[in-house]
Amino acid sequence: MLDIAFVKPALPRHGALVLPLAEGAETALTGLAQAIDAATGGAVLKALAAAGFKGRKGQSATIWAPALEGGAPGPAKLVALGLGKEMTAEAAEAAGGALLPLISGEREAVIAAEALPAPIAASLSLGLLLRSYRFDRYRTTEKEEDKPKLERVSVATDAASAVKAAWAPMRAVADGVFLARDLVSEPPNVLNPSEFADRLQALESHGLVVEVLGPKEMRKLGFGALLGVAQGSAEEPRMVVMQWNGATGGKAKKAAQKPVAFIGKGVTFDTGGISIKPAAGMEDMKFDMAGAGAVAGVMLALAGRRAKVDAVGLVGLVENMPSGSAQRPGDVVKTASGQTVEVINTDAEGRLVLADVIHYCQQRFAPRFMVDLATLTGAIIISLGHEHAGLFSNDDALAQQLTAAGKTVGEALWRMPLGEAYDKQLKSDIADMKNVGGRPGGSITAAHFIQRFVDTKDGPMPWAHLDIAGTAWTTKDLPTVPKGATGFGVRLLDRLVAEHYEG
């Protein structure tokens, strides 16, 4: 991973020197920027003016091999980076992200961040770090010159301790995002349910309490829906329960502080089962565990930044395969809640997994609220595209908190409706419900299916469902997300906790 350090300002003698400049600052350089301009006899200011660089958002200018007076050794490359008029955290992140490709050819870079407020300098670094993610575990023949060279970035600041303080929690969240991206990127022959569970077990070293349940335990708990999905695969299913006891200091629980709960769909590969998917694009279905990946990521982030919250993260891990022992359309399964489901389409398996895990979560932890994340429906992509994940909730306050948190970190949500008329589409002739409600409103009926396992009989249970099928993976580079797994949800949920549920 890219090494980011915070250092005292000094002109680098090689590598890249980055000058992040707000609009208007490009004519009145300070700090290292001024120093390099002076060292080049004013050539930097002249070059920026000649390049038409105004410090506008998204603007950049590159000066190669600036000649230092007296032939002194200096940076190989100067990059002026426009920050725009108002330096918001979001804009700084985007600028940091945009910076990465401009300096990735150098081994080292110094960012002249003396003029930036500490949180902005940290956000800029976060953007850079998030964009630098690369999953290259399986490349064995890549040529050295094709690999990104950047190893170390030094952020030059006079307020190192303030920037470091702002940076530490961001760094922890970035670790969570990278864990989620790693898990999503892993091929399905590597990341099967037991391997997934093993990797989550390893998070204990970060202070999480992790339990792994296998088929035997789940059978005992009556997880008929989850086990039905898993039964066609040679890979055994798992449920993993992760706990972070940050409010109670990791000791035995004192008072009855209810935890917040995150639940993730972890279908490590989804062929569709007997209702098999078309071959084209099926390889994407390795990311059908992105909800579980995000839950793991946020739990690691909370532990990494020692968040003062009690949180539980539960993931249902299965593989959905067609086989002689696979579940069939027409099968009726009994869920852990006792409700029965007629399986109409074996490719609507995610909701079956979630049904049992959500029920278990509520029974065991009686949480303050539950948020589930799932790459649940193709219909949500047809509804919203790739810019927003679908948000369904029985609680307006929670929905607003989530939407606001998503907006802040650039993981946008769009609220979608629920309603009795949609719920009726799940009516079955033989069981309590069908697992699909037809094409019309396909994401809404999926949300209603899940809602049937949120128990509000003995009082309200705030619940939200994020359908992330359109946002878990990106086919093009985004400012802070390179092409591939996005880790969508980690930052959003971390922000939700930080804003509303700590202390």
Binding site: A280, A379, I382, H388, P417, G441, G442, T445
Partner: protein
């Protein structure tokens, strides 16, 4: 439409009598308790016995006109195949009485034009009230919206061999009798206006395209509100032809235009003070020797060029020209377009809500509020930056739609239309999921719903008729 007579007392005959009962008021009917009838919304109980049928209608705790309308509609349905019935609204507020009757009238409508006569269906309703004088003005107002809705349903129900583009225009011209000014642009004038989108879509059909412009002047000196309607009398998909299964439903692809026409009729019937204009793009999308093709580049009315990707995404092309025409000809204070535009909106919202897109937060909130009032529900949907980016074309100013799998086509269509709204506050209602009822509901039987006509009428009533505002 159901013929309504206001009376102070029921007739002395055997016609069934509907009695609305609010929650908790059922005790005055001794048989109600035995039937488990409490007055809860949606409940119906019928008094047994050989005398006149007495049907109790549960009204729950009605708060809005819509609650009364739904009770009236359910009552009408419960009465069954009878030619005449009474509705006892004595003791209720005049507003409630009018709403009950409106609901009954909406539920009673059916399309009988193509059947042999003979089947008995409710055609007359006696509305029994304490004061006919007090109810009459309320009914007149409610009736205007009902007639607007039913006009829309009639037009949608018509098969495409009857409702040709010419016939649609002719029927719109008959609205002149209500004080609506109607101007129909044929091919020659469409060419003069340069409406290349509409001309291209209509090019493959033997029935020529039309742009119908309906104006209601109102009495207030203000810019009009513009209703823009997609009026595809039939949509085969054109060269990008649709699968055969279900294609018959495409006769309803003019439901947006029909709803706009219905709203104009409602405004005229109740003499709305607010000026309004409807611009309806009427065409038939056929496979023909002169059909437009995927790959064609069209020059639209606004001068922009559009690369055609899929000839079955024709609605946005005709709407784009209609939006541009409305924006430039009338400088409206707001524009709302209604269109059975995309299958994607059906995938997104199903049959219970229409998709609401637009550029003006206030207008969007107003449209959604009006929809709630009349039971024509909307749900806000996004137009994102990516949606617009996806429409970049290699050869023209923009592509008409994107290509690939799992496309958010409703959002793409809205992003496309936005380019032609000319900066006017604009809302787009994608009604593809709600134009036809798959099963009977309180306010209508199976078939065309007329969705949108009452919504637009209510929108005008709630937000654009405040004379003080101008």
């Amino acid at each position: 439409m159901l013929k309504l007579r206001l009376r102070r007392a029921p007739r002395e005959d055997a016609a069934p009598l509907l009695v609305p009962v609010v929650e908790g008021d059922a005790a005055r009917f001794p048989f109600a308790a035995a039937a488990g009838f409490t007055g809860a919304a949606g409940q119906v109980a019928e008094q047994p016995g050989p005398a006149r049928r007495l049907i109790l209608l549960g009204c729950g705790t009605p708060k809005r006109s819509l609650d009364w309308e739904e009770a009236g509609g359910l009552g009408l349905a419960a009465a069954g195949a009878v030619p005449r019935l009474g509705l006892d609204a004595r003791g209720l507020a005049p507003e409630a009485a009018a709403s009950l009757a409106a609901g009954a009238a909406l539920r009673a409508w059916r399309c009988d034009a193509y059947r042999a006569p003979g089947e008995v269906a409710p055609s007359r309703l006696d509305l029994i009230v304490d004061s006919p004088e007090a109810v009459l003005p309320r009914w007149a107002r409610a009736e205007a919206a009902v007639r607007g809705c039913l006009l829309a349903r009639e037009l949608v129900a018509m098969p495409a061999n009857r409702l040709t583009t010419r016939e649609f225009a002719r029927r719109l011209e008959t609205l002149a009798e209500h004080g609506i000014t109607v101007d129909v642009l044929g091919r020659k004038r469409l060419r003069r206006e340069g409406l290349g989108g509409l001309l291209a879509v209509g090019g493959g059909s033997a029935n020529p395209p039309r742009l119908a412009v309906l104006r209601w002047r109102g009495s207030v000196a203000a810019p009009p509100v513009a209703f823009i309607g997609k009026g595809l009398c039939f949509d085969t998909g054109g060269i990008s032809i649709k699968p055969a299964s279900g294609m018959q439903e495409m006769k309803a692809d003019m439901a947006g235009a029909a709803a706009c026409a219905g709203a104009m009729l409602a405004l005229a019937l109740r003499r709305s003070p607010a000026p309004a204009v409807a611009v309806l793009a009427i065409a038939e999308n056929m496979t023909g020797a002169a059909s437009y093709r995927p790959g064609d580049v069209l020059r639209m009315g606004s001068g922009r060029t559009v690369e055609v990707v899929d000839t079955d995404a024709e609605g946005r092309l005709v709407l784009a020209d209609a939006l541009h025409y409305a924006a430039t000809q009338f400088r409206p204070q707001a524009m709302l377009d209604l269109a059975t535009l995309t299958g994607a909106i059906v995938t997104a919202l199903g049959a219970h809500r229409a998709g609401l897109f637009g550029t003006d937060a206030a207008l969007l909130a107003q449209a959604a509020a009006a929809g709630e009032m009349v039971g024509e529900r909307l749900w806000p949907m996004p137009i994102g930056t990516r949606h617009r980016e996806d429409l970049r074309s290699d050869i023209a100013d923009l592509k008409q739609c994107a290509t690939g799998r799992f496309l958010p086509d409703a959002c793409h269509a809205a992003a496309f239309l936005r380019e032609f709204a000319g900066g006017v506050p604009w809302a787009h209602l994608d009604i593809a999921g709600v134009d036809t009822r798959a099963e009977a509901g309180a306010l209508g039987g199976k078939g065309p719903s007329g969705f949108g006509a009452r919504l637009l009428d209510m929108l005008m009533q709630m937000y654009f008729e405040d004379v003080e505002r101008h």
